[in-house]
């Protein structure tokens, strides 16, 4: 099971702070995870429609589209950061 977390407008678009999901074996990378999540609801689809505006952290480390997610415990999905 993986904990999926959403932040900022991704969270608002998806409509939930996070969800605990069993990733299918076919989902092995960040890009594959985003494709799979986008099918879960219209909110997921809207949030993830423009991948250029999406950033991901796998187990609290920033990740790219090819980063493996197999075995990950916590995957966070969010817009580019705007702190500071």
């Amino acid at each position: 099971m993986a904990e999926i977390l959403y932040f900022a407008w991704v969270r608002e678009a998806v409509g939930i702070d996070g969800e605990t999901l069993a990733l299918p074996a076919t989902v092995s990378t960040v890009a594959g995870l985003l494709d799979w999540l986008a099918q879960r609801s219209p909110g997921h689809a809207a949030a993830l429609a423009d991948r250029s505006r999406i950033r991901v952290a796998v187990d609290q480390a920033f990740a790219g589209p090819d980063t493996p997610v197999t075995g990950a415990r916590e995957i966070a999905i969010f817009p580019p950061v705007t702190g500071g």
Binding site: W9, E74, P79, T82, G83, G84
Partner: protein
């Protein structure tokens, strides 16, 4: 204790006290730089809310601090980032550095701000006088600033 420490808090900070703590007992530091980022009331903004990623934020801030400490070995410093709802004129972020010479203190402070802007998991939501809200968009020139290091 790391050469550059990181803190995350909702409360206001005291930049002068943080700088004094860094300088206390030291006679080899010839330069101190103290940067404060503040909420601007642009376009009728009435408040800014900083969301962050609790499990990751402080660790990522400390990693940024450690990266600066590794690049500028003589530098000591403190970075503090606030989260929650902040009003115009309130401070958001503090970066204090001190070093034997000013070039290192300035460079490390600029670097820390550039990296905090682009590598720490914070997101700003703006509230306006007409009741609308807007998530701040990341700016390409912040990425450019971070990429120069």
């Amino acid at each position: 204790m790391p050469a550059i420490g990181a803190r995350l808090q909702t409360d206001e900070f005291d930049g002068a006290a943080e700088q004094a703590a860094l300088l206390a007992g030291r006679r080899d530091l010839g330069a101190a730089v103290n940067f404060t980022g503040l909420v601007r009331a642009d376009d009728g903004l009435v408040a800014l809310t900083l969301e962050h990623y609790p499990a990751m934020t402080l660790g990522q801030m400390q990693a940024i601090a450690d990266a600066a400490a590794a690049r500028w070995p003589g530098v000591v410093g403190t970075i503090i980032h606030r989260h929650g709802r902040l009003l115009p004129g309130e401070s958001i972020v503090l970066v204090v550095t001190a070093a034997p010479h000013r070039a290192d203190a300035f460079a490390a402070a600029s670097f820390l701000m550039d990296w905090l802007k682009t590598k720490a998991p914070f997101w700003k939501r703006e509230e306006f006088a007409d009741g609308t809200t807007r998530w701040v968009e990341a700016r390409a020139h912040d990425d450019d600033a971070a990429a120069r290091w």
